[in-house]
């Protein structure tokens, strides 16, 4: 029995059809805050099909991924849904970043997987911030605002040993509960960008910014930099010029968020969005 899941974002709909109800249920849960509503401008169909031996993901009629492990296929399906939105919206900078918002201004946590972005977003949300994104943050090139992309958040459970980067994905992930009333629904100006790095036993410490290197680092986290490379480079350079940047090494998320709020002048005060 097949089940269709319809997901929508800014006029683009993704319709996922999966033979396996668990696959359909998981993808519906991941994207439940992005329901497909209204008449879409574009639609893309993803299909998950297969047997115990081999499972496949198709985008329209083209096989884009196959694996014996349904768990890996489920994980890849989530990526393929995101890729569909990335393809549909080259007008946005799709950044590998988590985002939390307060008073209409966003703090971004930008970096590759395993840096603790989700953990820091969750910690800010626990302090009353609104949840905007866990891992992927679309940014409007024109307004420089970050758009809500609130996939169901998860975070990795840390272990008491330093893992090499390639093994971080082995860590167990748990869902982070979010109050629906605390989910960000509107675009927000970017007030600061944190570039986190997890280091066991480091507590929390701010680093110094090398602006051009930082801009390049952000470019590397853009999912669609190859589509608009010049626009992406120029935008990231401008972002570094106009928005506060904070390299951060941490192991303690509570201390880390304290450092972030202190560095951005938000410890107990109101947030003033810089905007670009």
């Amino acid at each position: 029995m097949s089940a269709d899941v319809r997901i929508g974002f800014r006029g683009h709909h993704v319709v996922v059809r999966a033979d396996d109800e668990l696959v359909a249920g998981r993808i519906a849960a991941s994207f439940r805050e992005l329901p497909a509503t209204g008449t879409p401008r574009t639609v893309e169909r993803l299909t998950v099909t297969g047997s115990d031996r081999l499972h496949r993901i198709l985008v329209e009629d083209r096989v884009v991924y196959s694996n014996e492990s349904l768990r890996l296929v489920r994980r890849m399906l989530r990526h393929e849904v995101i890729r569909s939105f990335v393809r549909a919206h080259p007008d946005l900078l799709w950044l590998h970043a988590g985002a939390a918002v307060r008073d209409g201004a966003a703090i971004l946590f930008c970096g590759p997987f395993g840096r603790g972005k989700s953990t820091l977003v969750a910690e800010l949300c626990a302090r009353g911030w609104h949840y905007s994104s866990d891992d992927i943050a679309p940014i409007d090139f024109t307004t420089a605002c970050v758009l809500p992309f609130p996939l169901r958040p998860t975070r990795r459970v840390p272990v008491d040993e330093e893992l090499p980067h390639h093994r971080v994905q082995e860590l167990r992930r748990v869902h982070v509960p979010v109050d629906p009333a605390r989910i960000q629904r509107e675009p927000a100006a970017i007030a600061g960008v944190v570039l986190p790095g997890y280091r066991l036993g480091s507590g929390a410490a701010a680093g110094t910014v090398a602006p051009a290197q930082t801009a390049l680092g952000i470019v590397q986290e853009a999912l669609n930099a190859s589509v608009n490379p010049l626009q992406t480079v120029a935008f990231c350079a401008r972002l570094v010029s106009e928005v506060r940047m904070l390299p951060l090494t941490y192991s303690d998320p509570v201390a880390a968020v304290d450092v972030v709020l202190q560095a951005f002048g938000l410890a107990g005060g109101q947030l003033a969005a810089t905007g670009t």
């Binding site: 602006p211 051009a212 480079v233």
Partner: protein, 104 residues
């Protein structure tokens, strides 16, 4: 910086930015984007200042002299850094060295 000419006599060279390379300011520093190679490069503050002067009107010595004056540092100290940066930029093919033109 000089290069050897065919006759063995040194020729004055003037570094000039390649047209296809765009400089994007980043808080005083610079990110270069090479449109043909689709490659981005970061320049720190001093390298960015040297890049700005690579407009084909100055020799390497003149760039060093101007920077020495701007930063109140001895010219000989600056010149080594300028030469190193120019060589790196040339290696990255974001500038080219034009020879000829009026001597200093």
């Amino acid at each position: 910086m000089t290069t050897g000419s065919a006759a063995g006599a040194p020729a004055i060279v003037r570094p000039v930015r390649r047209d296809r390379v765009l400089g994007c300011p980043a808080a005083g520093e610079l990110v270069l984007y090479d449109g043909r190679k689709r490659q981005a490069i970061s320049l720190n503050l001093s390298a960015a200042a040297i890049w700005d002067m690579c407009d084909g009107s100055r020799t390497v010595s003149q760039i060093a002299a101007e920077l020495a004056e701007l930063t109140s540092q001895p010219r000989h100290a600056i010149e080594a850094e300028v030469c190193a940066v120019i060589e790196q930029l040339q290696g990255l093919r974001v500038i080219e060295l034009q020879s000829g033109g009026p001597f200093e």
